[in-house]
Subunit: 195 residues, 2 copies
């Protein structure tokens, strides 16, 4: 994975100083409400600043455009996450920074995606369930506790935390900007981005 040698030099009219980069996938995983979308928005700004070509595949975009009709059974979740992995794979091998921000609760499918994609950076967006449940930005925990939603990750469906993620963001202890900076530091260290 001689990342630096494969850097692309991209002409840009908007920025005089674009950041050389190779293709990679930034794979967020974590409970609903842990902060995946918030951090990916901060990352979007960091990438924009550097002229890094990227695509953010967050849960809602994916459910609309790739996975309409899939439910939340283990099989359907796996299909959904593999499908996101396939798209990230296509983007990554064409020099794009793909960002996945879906819960992706099961370890084995994340590992399959890691093997498929190669340049794979797993970010564990970690906050205690009690904190996520208190935030409850979409009111989903409330519905899950009331039994109105079944198979909800963390309540009546398992979440399997990564064993060796490249980055851990403790969103109950750090700001989204601090999390984004940790991620950028790791990408630089792995030589996926220049600065």
């Amino acid at each position: 994975m001689a990342a630096i040698q494969e850097f692309e030099i991209v002409k840009s009219e908007n920025s005089q100083k674009v950041c050389a980069h190779t293709g990679f996938t930034l794979w967020f995983t974590g409970l609903s409400g842990a902060g995946k979308s918030t951090i990916s928005e901060a990352i979007h700004q960091e990438f924009l600043k550097r002229g890094i070509k990227h695509e953010i595949l967050d849960g809602d975009v994916v459910r609309t455009n790739l996975s309409k009709g899939l439910g939340f059974s283990k099989e359907d979740r796996d299909t959904n996450i593999r499908r996101i992995g396939f798209v990230c794979h296509l983007l990554t091998r064409n020099g794009v920074a793909a960002v996945s921000a879906a819960i992706s609760p099961y370890r084995s499918v994340r590992e399959d995606n890691r093997r498929l994609i190669g340049n794979f950076v797993e970010v564990f967006v970690d906050a205690p369930l009690s904190v996520c449940e208190q935030r409850d930005p979409k009111g989903l925990y409330k519905k899950a506790r009331a039994g109105e939603i079944k198979d909800f990750t963390g309540i009546d469906d398992p979440y399997e935390p990564p064993l060796n993620p490249e980055v851990i963001c403790r969103t109950d202890q750090e700001t989204p900007q601090e999390s984004a900076e940790k991620i950028v530091d790791k990408l630089r260290e792995l030589r996926f981005i220049e600065w």
Copy 2:
């Protein structure tokens, strides 16, 4: 669509003379057996020769990786084609040449994809039904005629030919290489590729 100004200069170790290009989608449409996969293989060689970054999404790749579980009803076909369109859109706006080689029988969804993607080159892979049926490379027409497959395009499901395709390949009258050259000429004329 000032294509040329957005060309990317990509460093390559394998080729001294890569072809500058912008992102676009080459959208093949035509009956089963018309020659979509054969021409896309010829295009793959043309793009390789020029160092043009590309991805080929043929019907089988897509059914496995993006659309497992979808059937052949009008609704499922539309979902399948919109999904391919979404992936082509992501690739195109990141400077990749996306090639779709699915039947895509319905005009309105192809037109929706054209609007979504922008840099869209529709290639009508045209051969009379009788010729496609004689070729029958996968034995599907035989099964459809025997009633073993339902909703088969051209037999008991409609095929809506494009009204204004950028390229028409009459595969009963020209070789795959001739078809590929017509397509490359059109891409050059549209200034999506340099040579």
